[in-house]
Symmetry: C2
DNA sequence: CGTTGCGTTGAGTACCATCAACTGGGGTGG
DNA sequence: CCACCCCAGTTGATGGTACTCAACGCAACG
């Protein structure tokens, strides 16, 4: 297997995830990925493949590497002692498990596969040394950390303020946008491997309630789901419900 | 006014906030504050004082400085177009408005005073240049960013999974612990300037419901509130409700 | 062909929101 | 000094959102 690289500013295909252009696999890495590449750093070809529903990373596990999603869907989640579980975010191809990972020996959340997942690794210490060598790489790296923090603040607002209707509509639109940046949306239709349990765990609701709300969305002709694919049939109305003028 | 410094590893009083020792004002800065000081960086003596209920920072406002709380309470919050508002966190003396601020020209949240607040500023570019000069300072800085991200993940779990009882009990205990690190708790009693509206905005509930829950806490002898001070009367029971064994 | 996982649907319930009235303290001004 | 207002909090009545428990349908799979 060829050495992997996420930098493809020249339009090269990324050998790690197989997508093309920074706007797809490297969308979140952006400038940071380009700089890592310029400095000769690549993600290890040692790609691991994990099957759906399996655990990828266990909270608190020490690791010398930082990880990046190559293909498939996963989620970051926190487990409470009594069995409750909160999904922090969904991971798509090109996403790092954690932006600050180069400086964290262990993460405080689990990562679990939703579909079959391929992911790659890069030595944390190597990234750290590059960061302290080049201020521009550091700047690019910090932009990733800032984006992750902004996402977390956004999610706080979603969880605290949104009703179930709003929240579900926004999740669909948000995922559609992220997939769209990766060229994975065609004709308002895209892969949608989430179980209703995933959505419930992400929003702090029950699968039963998710089912009711999504049934209404379907009956109202907003969305359609077949064979693990979702098609948005009434984007305008979905955005209205989501509170996006 | 003397130049301010948050580094007080030698037991010196911090001239910015007037508290003593790293365990108080500098608790969140820790190693990072020490390193800034070793390198001759100090927070500007240009301290601004803001009165209760006033806006300190408006989301999107560009600034050359990063800010730190010197005294008083404030909160970081997001406003939705329809008037809803989500408090992201409460800021106590020694807290930075945002850990990643040196790399952010503007923040995506508001900062509002809860009590009268004093805060200080440090040039963002100066911090950035120090960070790329010294790997150990960078490491210390990243630990702040990581702590902030962890807090956000923690809050996501609180908002998504906790009932009102749990959530309020945990907020009280969490604040008590943070204040305790600053030497601001005596005999399980501490300043508590939050309006029930603040608590409601932090948890996505209504002030009316906060009132009911806290009334029960008071009637059950868990807490006591007089003159803007809270006293925890039954720590064990409060921890049990909070789900802490 | 039973099993298993996932989603749907119904009935009853709990939690929290909403609306509204009222209390008490603190400030202000006549 | 008192009337007045405002703010924060309390309390009651009522309603809606979402939970719980349970039964059932359906497709995939061994």
């Amino acid at each position: 297997m060829a050495p992997a690289s996420l930098s493809n500013a020249n339009g090269l295909r990324c050998s790690t995830c197989g997508t093309k252009g920074l706007s797809s696999c490297g969308s979140l890495l952006g400038e940071f990925g380009k700089r890592l590449d310029e400095q000769g750093l690549t993600f290890k070809p040692v790609q691991r493949t994990v099957h759906a529903r399996r655990n990828i990373y266990i909270a608190g596990e020490a690791s010398e590497d930082a990880y990046i999603m190559c293909s498939g869907w996963a989620c970051r989640l926190v487990r409470l002692p009594d069995g409750r579980c909160q999904i922090l975010s969904f991971l798509l191809p090109g996403d790092l498990f954690s932006a600050a990972a180069p400086f964290q020996e262990q993460l405080d959340f689990y990562v679990e596969a939703i579909t079959e997942v391929r992911y790659a690794a890069m030595n944390r210490a190597a990234i750290r040394s590059k960061l302290s060598e080049d201020p521009r790489t550091l700047e690019a790296f910090m932009n990733l950390c800032i984006a992750e923090t902004k996402d977390a603040n956004q999610m706080l607002t979603e969880l605290g303020q949104r009703t179930a209707d709003e929240h579900i509509a926004r999740l669909i639109l948000h995922l559609m946008e992220r997939l769209s940046m990766r060229g994975m949306v065609h004709d308002q239709s895209f892969e949608f491997p989430l179980r209703q349990q995933h959505i419930a765990d992400a929003m702090g609701l029950t699968p039963v309630h998710i089912s009711r709300v999504m049934s209404v969305f379907r009956q109202d002709g907003l969305i359609e789901i077949h064979d693990g694919k979702m098609k948005v049939r009434d984007l305008e109305e979905l955005r209205r419900i989501a509170g996006i003028k």
